[in-house]
C-alpha cells in the first residue's frame, strides 16, 4: 500500500476516535475540527515512524490529548480571560447542579499547570488508572501520583479558600 493510501486508511479507521477525543476535551465542534486537523498533520509528519496498527489508537489518543491541551493553553493566552476551557458555557439541558459542578471544576483546573491538568484529566475524567496514565504519557507512575496529589491539593485550596 502506498504511503498516502496507508495514511488515508489510518485516518478513516481512527478519525472518529480522534474527533471524539478532541470534542470531549474542547466541547466545541469547530475547535475539535481544528484540533483534528492538527492531529492529522502530526500523522502526516510522523507517517514513516507510526507504531504498528494495534498501537495506533493509543498513539493518536495521546497526540490528540496533547494537541487539545496545547490548544486550550494557547486560547487562554490569546483571550487572557482565565476561563479558557469551553466548559463554562451552560448547555440548554444542563441542570443547576451540573453548572455549579462545572464551575467548581473550572476553578480547580485554573489552579493547575498544563501537565497537572493532563494527568488529572486522564485519571479523574477518562477513568484511567495511574499506571495507564503513566504509560500513555511516558511518565513514571510515581510522577503521575505526585501530579495528581498536587492537583487535588491545589484544587481543594483553590475551591475552598
Amino acid at each position: 500500500m502506498r504511503d498516502g493510501d496507508a495514511l488515508s486508511e489510518i485516518c478513516r479507521r481512527l478519525g472518529p476516535a480522534i474527533y471524539r477525543r478532541c470534542l470531549k476535551i474542547l466541547r466545541n465542534p469547530d475547535e475539535a475540527a481544528d484540533a483534528c486537523q492538527k492531529v492529522y498533520m502530526q500523522l502526516v509528519r510522523h507517517r514513516s515512524r507510526l507504531p504498528p496498527e494495534p498501537e495506533q489508537l493509543r498513539w493518536v489518543y495521546v497526540v490528540a490529548t496533547r494537541v487539545c491541551f496545547a490548544q486550550l493553553r494557547d486560547d487562554a493566552w490569546e483571550t487572557a480571560s482565565g476561563a479558557e476551557l469551553n466548559h463554562d458555557a451552560p448547555g440548554p439541558t444542563d441542570s443547576f447542579a451540573e453548572v455549579a459542578d462545572r464551575q467548581m471544576a473550572l476553578k480547580a483546573l485554573s489552579c493547575a499547570t498544563e501537565h497537572e491538568r493532563m494527568v488529572a484529566w486522564l485519571v479523574l475524567v477518562d477513568g484511567h488508572s495511574q499506571e495507564e496514565a503513566a504509560e500513555l504519557l511516558s511518565l513514571s507512575r510515581k510522577t503521575v501520583g505526585k501530579r495528581i496529589q498536587l492537583f487535588l491539593a491545589n484544587a481543594r485550596r483553590g475551591v475552598f479558600e
Binding site: M1, G4, D5, S8, E9, C11, R12, R13, L14, G15, P16, A17, Y19, R20, R21, L23, K24, P29, A33, C36, Q37, K38, Y40, M41, V44, R45, L57, R58, Y61, S95, A97, E98, D126, G127, H128, S129, E132, L136
Partner: protein, 234 residues
C-alpha cells in the same frame, strides 16, 4: 442528566478500543451501564459529525503539512483528490462474506403479490414490506441495517434496545420494514457476530459506506452478509 462513571467503567480509551475491536467483557459491561451507554450514544453522534466533515478536514490538513512550498497552490486540489481517493478506495483488511438468498441473509419482499426472496439488485417498490431471514449456522448475534445512496444508515432489526438479536440456526426475524417513496439503491446488511457488537460499532462502520461497493465495510469481530436492492417506482 448523564449517569456518572462508576469504578467498574472502562476508560475512554478502552471504550474506543472496543469500538475498533469488540471486547466481550466491555460489551457485557455496557449492556448494564447507563454511563457507558450514554458514551456510546454520544460516540455515534460524533461519528456522524465526523463522517459529514472529515473530507474537508483531511483536505485542509494535507494542504497545510506539505514541505513542498512551490507546489503549494496545487496542494488543496491534490489533497481533495486524495480525500476523494480515500472515500472511494478503502481496502478492507479482511474480505467480508457476501450472501445471496438462501445463504446467511435472505430478504423477503411482500405487500404486493406473493412474497418473494430478493435477488441481488432486485427492484422494489414503495409500500412493499421487507422481512429478513438469517442463517448464521450456529448461535450468533445479529443486527440488520440498511445504507442508502447517501451513505445514511438505518437500523432495522432489532429496532430498539442496546443489544443485537440472539439467533440460533435459520430464523425469520421479527419485525419488518416498509419502503417509502425514496428512489435509488439501498443495501441491506446483516452483521453477524459470536459476541454482541454494539449498534454504535455497526453504525460507525456502515456510515458513509458506498452503497454499491460492499468491500468497503469491515467490522471487527463480525462477519457480514448483504443484499442490494434498487428502490423505485414500478
Amino acid at each position: 442528566m448523564n449517569a456518572a462513571r462508576t469504578a467498574q467503567c472502562p476508560s475512554d480509551l478502552a471504550l474506543e478500543e472496543h469500538l475498533l475491536d469488540a471486547n466481550p467483557a466491555t460489551a457485557r459491561h455496557i449492556v448494564g451501564c447507563a454511563h457507558c451507554q450514554a458514551w456510546e450514544r454520544s460516540a455515534a453522534e460524533a461519528a456522524r459529525a465526523f463522517a459529514r466533515e472529515n473530507p474537508r478536514w483531511m483536505a485542509k490538513a494535507q494542504a497545510r503539512s506539505s514541505p513542498l512550498r512551490r507546489w503549494a497552490p496545487l496542494l488543496p486540489i491534490a489533497a481533495l483528490a486524495a480525500a476523494a481517493l480515500f472515500i472511494l478506495h478503502s481496502p478492507s483488511p479482511e474480505a467480508p462474506r457476501y450472501a445471496t438468498k438462501g445463504e446467511e441473509l435472505t430478504v423477503y419482499i411482500g405487500g404486493q403479490g406473493a412474497p418473494r426472496a430478493a435477488s441481488q439488485g432486485e427492484r422494489v417498490r414503495p409500500g412493499e414490506a421487507l422481512r429478513f431471514q438469517v442463517a448464521p449456522g450456529s448461535a450468533a448475534f445479529v443486527w440488520i441495517a440498511s445504507v442508502d445512496s447517501t451513505g445514511s444508515v438505518s437500523r432495522l432489526v432489532p429496532a430498539e434496545g442496546t443489544t443485537p438479536l440472539a439467533v440460533d440456526g435459520a430464523q425469520l426475524l421479527p419485525g419488518s420494514a416498509v419502503l417509502d417513496a425514496v428512489e435509488g439503491p439501498e443495501r441491506i446488511w446483516a452483521v453477524i457476530s459470536r459476541e454482541p457488537v454494539s449498534w454504535a460499532v455497526v453504525e460507525q462502520a456502515l456510515q458513509g459506506s458506498p452503497v454499491r461497493d460492499p468491500t468497503a465495510v469491515h467490522i471487527p469481530g463480525a462477519r457480514t452478509a448483504t443484499v442490494l436492492l434498487e428502490r423505485g417506482a414500478p
